[in-house]
Amino acid sequence: MTIREIEQWVYREARLADEGDYDGWEALWTDDGVYWIPANGDDIDPATQMSIVFDNRSRIALRVRQLKHDKRHAQNPKSRLRRIVGNVEVLSGDAAGGDAAAGDVVVGANFIVYESRERGTTIWGGRTEYRLRRVEGQWRMAAKKVMLVDNDRPLSTLAFIV
């Protein structure tokens, strides 16, 4: 995968999240994917410490099913969202737990999300690390870790896909 292809993949994932295309977004996951948004720092142990999100694959599916339900009040109406993703960088396979032998590619990127809803506008910023894996000819996420800049402070409700 070239850097250009990686960037295109990252932008697509961002657009699916922004536009609330939940099925399209869920299809990007591998069967063992983990979606993680740590709290109180970027390197906590999610087995013993509270995270904002720590979803295994079945919980990712549950999150998507809830988002598609019309009584997910926190996202009905959906937040209007647009995000800028930049500083896309291919990290070494060893970084962030990537398994080079399996052909995983570990990618880092920074983001700013602009969110508008009845509450008002909120700007979210942070860094994402993806672990991408080729499955049946498609690149999929085996892991997405979202490190919010302010994950150690009080945060507003963020029920959208960040």
Binding site: A47, M50, I52, L62, Q66, K71, R72, H73, R119, L155
Partner: protein
């Protein structure tokens, strides 16, 4: 004249309705700081958060930052985070281990007991010794119950035992779920900020009427049975424990089913190590403890024990509240603790399956209560079927507003002690 004496409480709080301005008026907020947050017992932290000598954590009483420390000898202290010299904050880190706090402004140093240890260039005070008079301020009273540490800004008043009253029994019921009789709040806290008055949260915590509506999406997609516990046919009861403390008591439902750990959505065969440890600790009584499960109790004004998690309400302004939340961990129950943490973090906090929808309701309520008519919020539900239980507590059906009426009656007694 203090804010509390200018608010016409008798015209705003009636037995079955309350006025919307109680959630929006800055004078009400000022009065609450004076009569509730800076007077009554307020939950601050848990002893397990400072397990070692010289550990400390930053906590709060309402908008006030409080440092909870454990000194070298093991004693717990609640200190205000303000240098006695020029009022700089002496503690920045959310937690740590240190025998002393050194103010960054002029280098004054305080022991974790609050005592002033030293100040640079001390000859500049003309030989006057400041140490005895200029320690860090302390929260005037501190008491703990089963590791839960409370503080009160009032120099005197009811004891913590008097404040807790029969709510203490719910804390007892919680800690009995540990084979060692202790909870540990060691899993870290999420901080969830909402643009709503703190009482919107306080009242919602034991509102048994909302779950089937607010949480309809997660109950539907997770195929959860929780909604039925808060249905019309539920045998569960809502209860006024006195002192503004309220609960949803789900035991009648769990006793009807009679299955250990049903309250946690699991069964004894899935947690054999935990069940064995409980039987070893409590003998024949273990069965009933495991059937009854954990309490769902709101201890006025800010400690909410919600079965497997602890919430702490922190009001920061009339229209802004931070809800702190962590997973309960039971000493001697590692098998259960892992599952409680994973279940809790799925449910609560800014992205939680449950709390994201609750917080959306708090904020919608806060916007709605500013609409000019009809001015009042209605607390009538279940008035006709209120009754006293065998302990003399007022109870209602699972979805009744007994808890809200109890909260407001107590609130009025604090704000307007001689009506």
């Amino acid at each position: 004249m203090s804010a509390a004496t200018t608010v016409p409480w008798d015209r705003l709080i009636e037995p079955d309705r309350v006025h919307g301005s109680l959630y929006t008026d800055p004078a009400v907020w000022e009065a609450e700081l004076e009569r509730i947050w800076y007077r009554t017992w307020v939950y601050v932290g848990h002893e397990s958060e400072v397990p070692e000598p010289n550990d400390y954590v930053l906590k709060s009483i309402g908008p006030q930052p409080v440092i909870m420390t454990r000194d070298r000898a093991g004693g717990i202290h609640l200190l205000l985070n303000r240098c006695s010299h020029r009022a700089n904050l002496v503690c920045d880190a959310a937690r740590g281990n240190s025998s002393a706090f050194r103010c960054p402004y002029h280098g004054w140093t305080f022991a974790n007991t609050g005592a002033l240890l030293g100040y640079p260039f001390s000859s500049g005070y003309g030989g006057r010794e400041l140490k005895a008079e200029l320690g860090l301020a302390r929260v005037p009273r501190m008491e703990s119950y089963r590791g839960f540490v409370f503080g009160s800004f009032a120099e005197d008043g009811p004891s913590l035992a008097e404040h807790l009253g029969d709510a203490a029994g719910e804390i007892d019921r919680l800690v009995r779920l540990s084979p060692e009789g202790r909870v540990q709040l060691t899993a870290g806290w999420l901080q969830h900020k909402v643009r709503a008055n703190w009482k919107m949260l306080l009242e919602n915590e034991t509102d048994g009427y909302h779950p089937q509506f607010v949480h309809a999406s997660i109950f539907a997609v997770a195929d959860s049975g929780i909604g039925e516990l808060y249905g019309e046919k539920s045998a569960a009861v809502s209860r006024d424990l006195g002192g503004g403390h309220t609960e949803n008591d789900l035991r009648p439902e769990f006793r009807r089913l009679g299955e250990p750990l049903r309250w946690f959505g699991t069964s004894a065969d899935r947690l054999p190590g935990y069940v064995a440890a409980m039987r070893a600790a409590y003998g024949d009584a273990a069965e009933q403890i495991l059937v009854d499960g954990s309490p769902h109790v709101m201890i006025f004004p800010n400690l909410f024990i919600a079965e497997i998690q602890i919430f702490v309400l922190q009001p920061v302004a009339v229209d802004e509240t931070v809800q702190h939340v962590t997973a309960i961990q039971f000493a001697g129950a590692p098998e259960l603790n892992r599952r409680m943490l994973q279940q809790t973090l799925g449910s609560v906090g800014p992205a939680g399956f449950l709390l994201a929808d609750d917080s959306e309701m708090y904020e919608r309520n806060q916007r709605g209560v500013q609409v000019r008519r009809p001015e009042w919020l209605v607390l009538k539900r279940g008035l006709h079927r209120e009754r006293l239980d065998e302990h003399g507590h007022r109870v209602g059906d699972a979805t009744d507003e007994v808890p809200m009426r109890a909260i407001w009656a107590h609130y009025r007694s604090l704000m307007d002690p001689a009506p």
